[in-house]
Symmetry: C2
Subunit: 439 residues, 2 copies
């Protein structure tokens, strides 16, 4: 007999089927033994009666996380016994045969059958291979997978070409955050902290490119929003009329991915009581306007033209209240706090750049880039960078490149805020921070 | 006026349109100037006549790789003047206005308007940001993008969950190839040479997982088949009856991706005169059988039970001739040349493992893994590995895991062989080898 999935059982009432999966929980009611079986498609209640002697004996021995194979009869559950909370709540399995395929060698450090694990972050991450088996925690990663899928889908629909760019670089010259250093045969090398230069080269090739790839940041942060290795959702597009085109495109992307997640991950979202609002027009305001609002509405003054984590949280709160949007674009960041390749605005104190904030945090950064070779060289010098260190990058502009811009979007923060998770580390299977390199 | 794409012009005969793109080539016929314009959607011929004085003057100045914007009338080309080779060959643009958006600052080091670049590998790679703009070379990466897309598509359809696993590891214990060492804050760390352990953990969570991610190998190879950074297409699946299930699944994957590439990349494949055969049943033979064939048919004897690059090439030749298949699974590799986690066969000299060869090279490696904790510990010791170094990995098995297996598939070699490219480096936008870390 071929194994079927738990999700297929409601269509098999009256049939004998074979199932395989994990014992989520066993409840011994004296005469009857109940087992909740879990596989990749869902969960189902099984009942083992004393008449089936061998199966009954085996069922008495099994515990949580035993991996078993069963054969049994699919039966409709009577009205009152239905469990409306799961798609298979209308059926149960009356077990005929039961065998153990694999079992825990040790006492589990965490009871993962609980609806909520209720453990602190260190316990959660120290025992990652087992805590990830909890059904509510798995939901995080099902939603994450849907984010990856839907991002690729909308980018292709918008005629962006998917590229993969190198993560090992010969020099740490991009400016900005810190680089991890590698021993590369006889040379020193560095881990890429963004695909920025390569995706700009990509504009010269395909006009529109996107990349889903690893990003490495050697920043010694200890916050709920930072990790040292993450997955960036990058894009870059040519022939733009201005950086508004880039925001228009990113708005389309967020509309699509939020819509797909809302539609395809309902059950997973419900576990976190997460509301995914449809995205339409994302409000846009200048950073200076945002700072005015913070000052007037919240009595918060910044010393410079910049916004901190608290400011981002408050401005999102204000936008939510006044525009009913979970997203807001802040635009025109000062030249002094943007990378050298950022296009200056008409007023050169500011840049044609933006951050996209979502539910209190920055999730994306982008803008128009300088595409003129001479202007770029001048700007490098202004930033005390030596153009000779950037020969390969400057080649892109020597050969001519259209007006262009793009964004870097952090995949994990979207999921963190959407589900209201305390730490970004909860959205990563095996997160890496300053102290944590295992499991 | 809004810009339209070149691919949209055949539907706009009689209309004035705006186009933007690169000058692929300019041909000055004295009175008339012809320009082939290239954008992300294709190429089109434009004609500039002296009557349009300003456009004509501008057209006299432009050269290859100038980035321009034009407005002009879409005209049907008379029968004899049609170019059947391109989808826009039935129309041309009579230019009204022409302006330069950006232009090369220097003489281009390579003439990229040629159908075939005809440069050696070093020239090709040293001038990568410009050689990648050649239309035939772009085809490689359009096909590559389709491989990435279709791989994700079939994996999801087969209910594999997409995961992203860390590329920074605390120890270099997996055995096998060499690791790059990183300075990670106060610790030493290593770059992942495969997601093996993490995808096995993934089986404990989702049963079936896949990953598209960076792989780093510190192997000092100087061949046409090796690079030090590449994109791995990995998968791992639980509840298998044996390693044949894994081959069955990989066969489905290759059937799908080859079918999608054949269907969606016809024009790109034609440039390389590449024949993508439909994949049905992939022949499977034991490694020892393959060695017998090499001995009997080609007079090639191996000293040990193993196959080298020439052997892989010859056995593919033999399979092509006798089974009309570009693919072949070689199975049951000896225990001595497979990693410690490989499931032994009934005859424990051999393993339930396979390599998948395609047009002369190994593109994938896989098999069933040991899922029993005690058996794994014994096997580690046999391989002179210390189980204490593998605590986190062994936890996966301590908590119980179903019979499982999977594969690691190299994305670049598929494209290399499909298109008959001399080096794998031609399939990577910015390849990394022992000597090359730029651009």
């Amino acid at each position: 007999m071929e194994r079927i999935l738990i999700s297929e059982t409601p269509g098999q009432i009256g049939q004998i089927v074979k199932l395989q999966g994990w014992v989520n929980i066993r409840r011994d009611h004296g005469k009857l033994v109940f087992v909740d079986l879990r596989d990749r498609s869902g969960m189902i209640q099984m009942v083992i009666i004393p008449d089936k002697e061998e199966a009954y004996k085996a069922a008495k021995e099994i515990r949580g996380e035993y991996i078993i194979e069963v054969e049994g009869l699919v039966k409709a559950r009577p009205g009152g016994a239905k469990n409306e909370k799961v798609p298979t709540g209308g059926v149960e399995i009356e077990v005929e045969k039961l065998s153990v395929l694999s079992k825990p060698e040790v006492e589990l450090p965490v009871d993962i059958s609980a609806e909520d694990l209720n453990v602190n972050l260190d316990t959660l991450l120290d025992n990652r291979t087992i805590t990830l088996r909890n059904d509510k925690i798995k939901s995080i990663f099902r939603i994450y997978a849907e984010l990856l899928r839907s991002y690729g889908e909308i980018m292709r629909k918008e005629s962006f070409t998917e590229i993969k760019t190198p993560k090992i670089l010969s020099s740490a010259t991009e400016g900005g955050a810190n680089f991890f250093k590698i021993k590369y045969f006889q040379q020193d090398a560095y881990l890429a902290q963004s695909p920025q230069f390569y995706k700009q080269a990509g504009v010269g090739i395909f006009e529109r490119v996107f990349e889903i790839g690893s990003v490495f940041r050697a920043e010694p942060h200890f916050t709920t929003r930072h990790v040292n290795e993450y997955i960036g959702l990058d894009a870059e597009m040519g022939f733009i009329k201005g950086f508004e085109d880039v925001m228009d495109e990113l708005e389309k992307v967020m509309t699509h991915v939020m819509g797909e997640i809302a539609e395809n991950c309902q059950a997973d979202l419900e576990k976190y009581e997460a509301q995914v609002l449809p995205v339409e027009k994302i409000p846009r305001m200048k950073l200076t306007e945002a700072l005015d609002i913070l000052d007037k509405e919240y009595g918060k003054k910044m010393e410079e033209v910049d916004i901190d984590a608290e400011g981002e949280r408050l401005i999102c709160e204000w936008v939510k209240k006044n525009h009913n949007s979970d997203f807001v674009f802040l635009t025109h960041y000062p030249t002094s706090i943007r990378p050298f390749y950022t296009m200056p605005s008409a007023d050169p104190q500011y840049t044609d750049s933006f951050d996209l904030l979502f539910m209190g945090v920055e999730i994306a950064s982008g803008g128009q880039r300088i595409h003129d070779y001479d202007q770029l060289v001048v700007n490098m010098k202004k930033n005390k960078l030596n153009p000779e260190d950037f020969k390969d990058y400057l080649d892109i502009f020597k050969y001519g490149i259209p007006p262009h811009g793009g964004w870097g979007l952090g995949s994990e923060r979207i999921i963190q805020k959407m589900l209201g998770l305390g730490s970004i580390k909860e959205t990563i299977l095996f997160p890496r921070d300053v102290k944590r390199l295992t499991p």
